[in-house]
């Protein structure tokens, strides 16, 4: 079994999305022991004994600083990629609370957004850093 389909179909944690199946788009990004990984290419057997955090586990009430910034900057459009975007950004800020813009771009680059919300994603991350 695969981590993505187990999260989505067996546990019904559907915030983690399927987008490409080959680790190209990042819609399925979750944290594995705190590190961002693409659930679509992770066999379930390899996560035994490890902690998996999905978007549902980021906060109970949209209170994570990134979620607040995502709302105040009105980032999502179709919204489909933003679980992955937020999980990817959360992993960055946990390790490096004050990244510069080049570090943010490099870290966020694996996560695709077809609606083209990148400029607002950048603003939301920068705002989160400023507010922290």
């Amino acid at each position: 079994a695969n981590l993505l389909w187990t999260l989505r179909e067996r546990l019904q944690l559907t915030g983690t999305k399927y987008g490409c199946g080959v680790s190209q788009c990042g819609a399925c990004t979750v944290h594995l022991d705190g590190n961002p990984v693409k659930a679509c290419v992770i066999p379930l057997s390899s996560v035994k004994g490890k902690e998996v955090t999905t978007i549902e586990g980021l906060s109970k009430d949209n209170s994570h600083p990134l979620q607040k910034s995502w709302i105040s900057e009105q980032v999502p459009q179709c919204g489909y990629c933003h679980s992955g975007q937020i999980m990817q950004a959360a992993a960055l800020l946990k390790k490096n609370p004050n990244p510069n813009s080049q570090e943010i771009i490099k870290h966020m680059n694996p996560i695709l957004c077809r609606c083209g919300t990148y400029v607002r994603i950048m603003k939301a991350i920068e705002k989160t850093i400023q507010n922290s």
Partner: protein, 720 residues
């Protein structure tokens, strides 16, 4: 819509159960609204449905008639009603409307009540605007009529504030929720005269900043897309579809596949083989292991997209004529009288929608009925298609519209929905059908490939006297949009579309023909300006001098970008103008170039927009930002190619779309204040992108890019 897995549309029964409050009903097309509190009388209204429900606690539920695919109209449309009824926006809840096109649809011209619920062409706000203002004003009329009667005062003495009716003479106030607890209703509601609608200056919501309703659910994973639907006893399906459009499948290893643990059924479809299993993994395993012979003749099998351009050149050169888009004066007569003739060909490859949520649907066909969950741009059309496909009445189809993880035109087709229906019918179980990304690309329906041949005759004074634009490509009616240029005063115009059917699937893609056509037109104008040693802004100013609204947009972007200012070494700018869905845009971009790799970097984009009255400005800006970036993506890197009828791309590694590293560092958008009718915004930023990049490249290098996408390879070729 959040977390309501099963009942995310409101059935009539559910309305009835609400009780206690006021539900505003509209019966039939164009018939004035009714208000009913008596449940029995509602049940008797065959076509009864509602825009607004006011609960006695003051909650106002407004029903959104359009698909929400990211464009934000589920917020903007209810805001129009809330504005006119003076609802307290903090107490507004928004729900999907039922699938009832007689009430929630709009006619093609817009403006009326009833029509198609198809969410396409950026038409939701412009098409619904007047109707929703009227409906909101009628709700307000009922509320103040009831307050007037209760207080024994003349209705003309009453005013409203958000969520309440006020009698200024006595200072009395009553909330809408309180009115809902006792309200009576007239048998017929008057149409509110336009001069009794709110004055623009009095708007509290329209034109102001407020948050999108859907965003909180889109930052925590609770927004429900069709792929998130879970139905008890649901099984999973995948399909192998014909790699060449029109060929038929013959499964060679059925016996082997049936040994896969968890595989429940193999279903033969006209153009594919479906695999139904008790898990996604098992369905995928069967799909991956299937050996299929594809048989039969197909028109598409001879199609090679790169050599198609030669066919187009021949057809463009030939004496054949196609469909005229516009004809003014006499191009053929005037062209020999001009001093100089300039010609250029522009090309653009097939482009794929690449919506982030691959196509999927959940269907449950049982006992002559169908229950379907889908993200669709056309709920009523999808419902009819399902009913016709199954040979049942459309009332036996319960379609639950879900959020769309992107549409861009692809989800105005019903192919993925009918597949899920077929597979469910075959196993008599609820089926979740998921397309892989590779399926989504290889069975895509693309923005057509085309060649644009432009020809202009310039007279002795440097004026463009004659203009010919022949669009040659596949996809028929998809090719011509945006080719006409009524705002450029050229006395002789010949604009024509010639079509070749290659037998492959094509479809509307955000802004349709406007992307390729504005690329050609606006790049060609730049080429003319360079030839005539005129500033490209000045050339457009002259052409548009009798079109003040268009000119204002152009002047605005020139001012925003400080057009003509000296730029740092290695930077250059391009300018362009476009219209789409009656909105007007002008853009400037600033680029630099890595001459070694051939990679263009777009640093900044400025865009001026005239979209009439803008209901939700921050979201309008978001739409322009998004369409600029999606446009830039298509311009810089997107290309679908066919070899012997087969799509050669399979995922984001060989069909790249723009990532954050290639996004502009800044996008500045200015919305021009207007009191004109709203126009469509969702696609407006996209069409000029090809031209402004090509024009900036020419300014930087003196070389011209005439074939989208502008990949590093093509850039290096252009540099020579």
């Amino acid at each position: 819509m959040e977390n309501e897995l099963k009942e995310n549309t409101i059935s009539r029964r559910k309305f009835l159960k609400r009780g206690g409050g006021l539900t505003f009903l509209v019966a039939g097309i164009g018939i004035p609204a009714f208000v009913r509190k008596d449940e029995k009388s509602i049940a008797n209204e065959v076509k009864a449905s509602a825009w607004v429900h006011i609960s006695t606690d003051g909650t106002v539920t407004i029903f959104n008639p359009a698909a929400e695919m990211g464009q934000g109209t589920m917020t903007a449309l209810p805001a129009i009603i809330a504005e006119e009824m003076d609802a307290d926006w903090s107490k507004v809840k928004i729900e999907h409307s039922p699938v009832e096109p007689e009430i929630y649809g709009i006619p093609w011209g817009g403006g009326g009540r009833g029509g198609s619920m198809l969410t396409v062409g950026s038409r939701s706000v412009s098409g619904h605007f007047e109707n929703l203002r009227q409906s909101g004003a009628q709700v307000r009329f009922v509320l103040i009529s009831n307050a007037a009667e209760k207080w024994g005062v003349n209705i003309d003495e009453l005013e409203t504030a958000p969520g309440m009716v006020i009698h200024p003479k006595t200072g009395k106030k009553i909330s809408y929720g309180e009115i809902a607890s006792f309200a009576k209703f007239p048998d017929e509601l008057p149409e509110i005269p336009v001069n009794k609608l709110k004055k623009i200056a009095d708007f509290r919501l329209i034109g102001k900043d407020f948050q999108r309703y859907d965003i909180p659910a889109k930052v925590n994973g609770s927004a429900i897309y069709s792929m998130d639907i879970h139905v008890p006893n649901m099984v999973y399906a995948m399909i192998n579809r014909s790699p060449v459009n029109g060929t038929k499948p013959e499964l060679k290893n059925e016996d082997d596949l049936r040994k896969i643990s968890g595989l429940l059924e193999i279903v033969k479809l006209d153009y594919g083989i479906g695999f139904i299993a008790n898990s996604m993994e098992a369905a995928q395993q069967a799909k991956n292991n299937a050996e299929i012979n594809w048989t039969g003749q197909s028109k598409a099998e001879n199609h090679n997209s790169q050599s198609a351009y030669q066919e187009y050149e021949v057809l463009a050169e030939s004496g054949n004529s196609g469909n005229m888009v516009a004809s003014i004066g006499d191009f053929s007569r005037e062209i020999p009288n001009t001093r100089k003739v300039i010609r250029a060909d522009y090309k653009n490859d097939y482009v794929y929608h690449a919506q982030m949520e691959p196509l999927n649907a959940v269907a449950w066909v049982k006992d002559g009925q169908a229950e379907v969950w889908a993200g669709t741009q056309g709920a009523d059309g999808a419902r009819s298609a399902i009913a016709n496909h199954l040979g049942i009445d459309f009332k036996a189809v319960n379609l639950h519209p879900c959020y769309l993880g992107g549409g861009f035109g692809r989800r105005s087709m019903n192919d993925y929905i009918l597949e899920a229906v077929d597979l469910s019918k075959a196993v008599n179980l609820p089926v979740k059908l998921i397309w892989t990304r590779t399926d989504d690309i290889q069975f895509g329906a693309f923005r057509p490939i085309s060649l644009q041949r432009l020809e202009a005759g310039i007279d002795a004074s440097g004026q463009i006297k004659a203009w010919k634009h022949v669009v040659v490509g596949t996809g028929g009616g998809l090719l011509g949009s945006g080719a006409d240029i009524p705002f450029y005063d050229i006395p002789n115009k010949h604009i024509e579309v010639r079509n070749i059917d290659h037998g492959v699937r094509t479809k509307h893609w955000r802004a349709v023909g406007h992307g390729p056509n504005k690329f050609a037109i606006e790049t060609f104008l730049d080429e003319i300006a360079i030839d005539q040693k005129t500033d490209p802004l000045e050339l457009r100013r002259q052409l548009m001098k009798n079109h003040p609204r268009e000119l204002k947009v152009l002047e605005t972007v020139a001012k925003m970008s400080n057009w003509g200012e000296k730029l740092p070494e290695g930077r250059a700018r391009g300018i362009g103008f476009a219209e789409r869905s009656n909105s007007l845009t002008a853009g400037v971009c600033e680029i630099s170039l890595d001459r070694k790799s051939g990679k263009i970097k777009v640093h900044k984009i400025w865009c001026a927009l005239d979209a009439g009255i803008v209901v939700h400005p921050d979201n309008a800006k978001a739409q322009v930002e998004g369409s600029l970036v999606m446009g830039l993506s298509s311009v810089m890197m997107e290309s679908i190619t066919f070899s012997n009828g087969e799509v050669q791309q399979s995922n984001f590694h060989d069909y790249p779309i723009l990532r954050m590293e290639d996004a502009p560092e800044s996008i500045e958008i200015e919305i021009i204040p207007s009191t004109e009718k709203p126009t469509g915004i969702g696609e407006a930023g996209l069409p000029f992108m090809g031209a402004v990049v090509s024009n900036a490249f020419a300014a930087l290098t003196g070389k011209r890019l005439r074939h989208m996408p502008f990949t590093p390879q093509k850039v290096l070729e252009a540099l020579g």
